[in-house]
Amino acid sequence: MYAQMIKSEATQDDPEKLAAFQARIDAGEKIEPKDWMPEGYRKTLIRQIGQHAHSEIVGQLPEGNWITRAPTLERKAILLAKVQDEAGHGLYLYCAAETLGVSRDEITEMLLDGRMKYSSIFNYPTLNWADIGAVGWLVDGAAIMNQVPLQRTSFGPYSRAMIRICKEESFHQRQGYDAIRKMAEGTPEQKKMAQDALNRLWYPSLMMFGPSDKDSVHSAQSMAWKIKMNTNDELRQKFVDQTVPQAEYLGLTIPDPDLKWNEERGHYDYTDPDWSEFFEVIKGNGPCNVDRLAARNKAWDDGAWVRDGLLAHAKKKATRQHAAE
C-alpha cells in the first residue's frame, strides 16, 4: 500500500442520508461515482487514491535509476516492464480519482507543490543492483499486504483498479524475490549487495504501513467506510510473519537482533521502526525527498511545451475537420 496517514475528513451531511449510506456499505454494496456520498468520504478517497497514484509515479524514479545499469538483457527487460506497469497503475488510479471530481492536472499539481504526499519508501535511494530485487520483494510485498484487502473496498472504481493492480504486483514481487535470490546465491560480493539492500530497506518497508495503531488517529472513520480494511499494526505483523522465513531461505539476516518467534502469540516479535525517522521523512527530510520532487517538477516543466504543442495541434485538426464538413 502506498497510502500512509490519510486524514479522514469530518463529515457534516444529513444524518439520515449518512445512515443510509453507511447501511449500503455495511451490506457490502459498492458505491459508484454517481451515487450520493458524504463529502468527507469523497475527500478522503481523493487523498488516498491520489497518494497511491503519486507513489506509483514517483516510484518510477528509484527503479529507473537502475534500468540503464541492469546487468543482463533479461533483467533490463523485466525492469522496464515493471516500471511500465507502475506508470499504468498510476494512470488507472488517476482515472479512479477523476470519477470523484478531481482532474489529473489538478492532482498532479498538488503532488508537485507538496500539498499531496507519496509513500515515504520512495524517499530512500536504490544504491546497488540488489536493491531492485529488494524493492520487488519487500516494497511490492508490503504494498500487496494492503492492496489485497482493498480489492473489497467500498468505492467501485477503486476496488476494480485494485483487482487489476494486485495481479501485476504479485508478479513483480515474485520477480523481485527471484532477482534477490540470484544475488543471495551468487558470489560473495553479490551476497554482500543483497544483505546491504535488506539492511537499508527493512525498516523503511515496515514504515510503509504507517504509524503504530496507538498513534494512528484517522483510522476509525476510514475503516467504517471500508476504505481502510485493516489496522496498520495488523498488516505490519502479517508482513513480518511472511517475510522472515523468506529471508531465512535466502540466507540473509533481518537487521533486527530482537526478532524472534513468539510461540504464544503465533507471530514474530520484532522491533518497531524508528518513528522519529519516519516523521522526518514525511516532513520532507528523507534522503531523497528533495531530489525526487525536483525530478518530477523538472519533467513536468520541461514537458510543458510538448503538452501545449500536442493540444494546439489537436485543436487545429478539429478546426480543419470542422471547416471541411
Binding site: 509515479i57 518510477q60 524514479l61 527503479e63 529507473g64 534500468i67 540503464t68 545499469r69 541492469a70 546487468p71 543482463t72 538483457l73 533479461e74 533483467r75 533490463k76 527487460a77 522496464l80 516492464a81 516500471v83 511500465q84 506508470a87 499504468g88 498510476g90 494512470l91 488517476y94 489529473r104 543492483w129 532477482a179 540470484k182 544475488m183 551468487g186 558470489t187 560480493e189 553479490q190 525530478a295 523538472k298 519533467a299 513536468w300 520541461d302 514537458g303 510543458a304 511545451w305 510538448v306 503538452r307 501545449d308 504543442g309 500536442l310 493540444l311 494546439a312 495541434h313 489537436a314 487545429k316
Partner: protein
C-alpha cells in the same frame, strides 16, 4: 577495419548491425524512465524501449549462435568495446529534449519498418521469423512517433521550432542507414537481407509525407556522418553509454545475475 570476406562473417556483421541498433536505441529511450512530459509518454517510451530490448535478445542471440564461439547475447551486449559495436550513429546520439528523442525515433522507425518488411522475405528462416515478430511492434512505434512528430511540428510556434531544430540536428545521421559495403553485398547475394541503398526511395517518400504534414523542412543537404555500422568511428557518446550499461558485468566478471 577488416572487410568480411566470407558469408559467415558477413552474416554475423549483419546481425550485429540489427541487434546493436535496437540495443543502443533501446538504452537511450530507457533513459527517459520517469521523466517524460506526460504519463502516457512515460508508458509509451518504456514500452518502446522494452520492445527494442526484446528484439536485441533475438538478434544478438542469433549473432552469437552464428559466430559459434559459445557466447551469449549478453556477452555480446555487455562485453564488447565501442569499436565492436555496429549500430548506426543515429541510435547513439544523446536524447536531447523530448522533441529530439521522438524525431530520432521517427527517423529510425521509418527505416526499421521498411527494413523489417524486406527481412520477412529473407532466405534465412530465423531472420524472417525475428523480422515478422519485430515488424508488428515497429509498426506501432512508427505510427506513434509519426503522429507525435506531426503533432509537435504542427503545434505551437515553440514546438515547431524545437522539432525543426531536432530535424536539422539529426538529418546528417540519416544517410548512414542506406550505405552499403562488402558485407551487405554478401547478404544480398545470399538472399538474406536487402541492399541498404534499395530502401532509400521508399524511405524518402514516407519521411517526406510525414515531415510535410508536420510542416517541417528537410535540410537541403545530402551530407551523411558515417562510421557506426562499420565500427570505424563512433561518436564520443557511445563510450559513455557503454560505461554505464556494462558496468556491473565489467566490475564483477563471471557473476550470474
Amino acid at each position: 577495419m577488416a572487410t568480411p570476406v566470407n558469408k559467415e562473417d558477413a552474416f554475423s556483421q549483419f546481425l550485429l548491425r540489427m541487434g546493436d541498433n535496437t540495443l543502443i536505441l533501446g538504452h537511450r529511450v530507457s533513459e527517459w524512465c520517469g521523466h517524460a512530459p506526460v504519463l502516457e509518454e512515460d508508458i509509451a517510451l518504456a514500452n518502446t524501449a522494452l520492445d527494442l530490448i526484446g528484439q536485441t535478445q533475438m538478434w544478438l542471440g542469433l549473432a552469437a549462435e552464428v559466430q559459434g564461439e559459445g557466447k551469449s547475447a549478453d556477452d555480446l551486449a555487455f562485453l564488447r568495446d565501442a569499436w565492436d559495436f555496429r549500430n548506426v550513429l543515429l541510435c547513439e546520439v544523446p536524447n536531447g529534449d523530448f522533441g529530439r528523442t521522438l524525431m530520432r525515433q521517427f527517423l529510425f522507425d521509418a527505416w526499421h519498418s521498411i527494413q523489417l518488411g524486406r527481412l520477412m522475405k529473407s532466405s534465412d528462416e530465423r531472420v524472417a521469423a525475428i523480422a515478422e515478430k519485430a515488424s508488428k511492434e515497429v509498426a506501432y512505434h512508427l505510427e506513434r512517433s509519426a503522429d507525435t512528430v506531426v503533432g509537435l511540428g504542427d503545434g505551437t510556434e515553440e514546438s515547431h521550432r524545437r522539432m525543426q531544430e531536432a530535424l536539422d540536428y539529426l538529418w546528417p545521421y540519416v544517410g548512414e542507414m542506406f550505405q552499403s559495403d562488402e558485407a551487405d553485398a554478401e547478404m544480398v547475394k545470399a538472399g538474406i537481407a536487402p541492399d541498404p541503398a534499395s530502401l532509400r526511395e521508399e524511405y524518402d517518400v514516407l519521411v517526406s509525407r510525414i515531415l510535410g504534414d508536420a510542416t517541417l523542412i528537410i535540410p537541403d543537404s545530402s551530407f551523411a556522418h558515417k562510421g557506426g555500422r562499420t565500427g570505424a568511428m563512433h561518436t564520443e557518446h557511445l563510450g559513455h553509454l557503454l560505461t554505464q550499461m556494462q558496468w556491473l558485468q565489467r566490475a564483477y566478471p563471471g557473476a550470474k545475475w
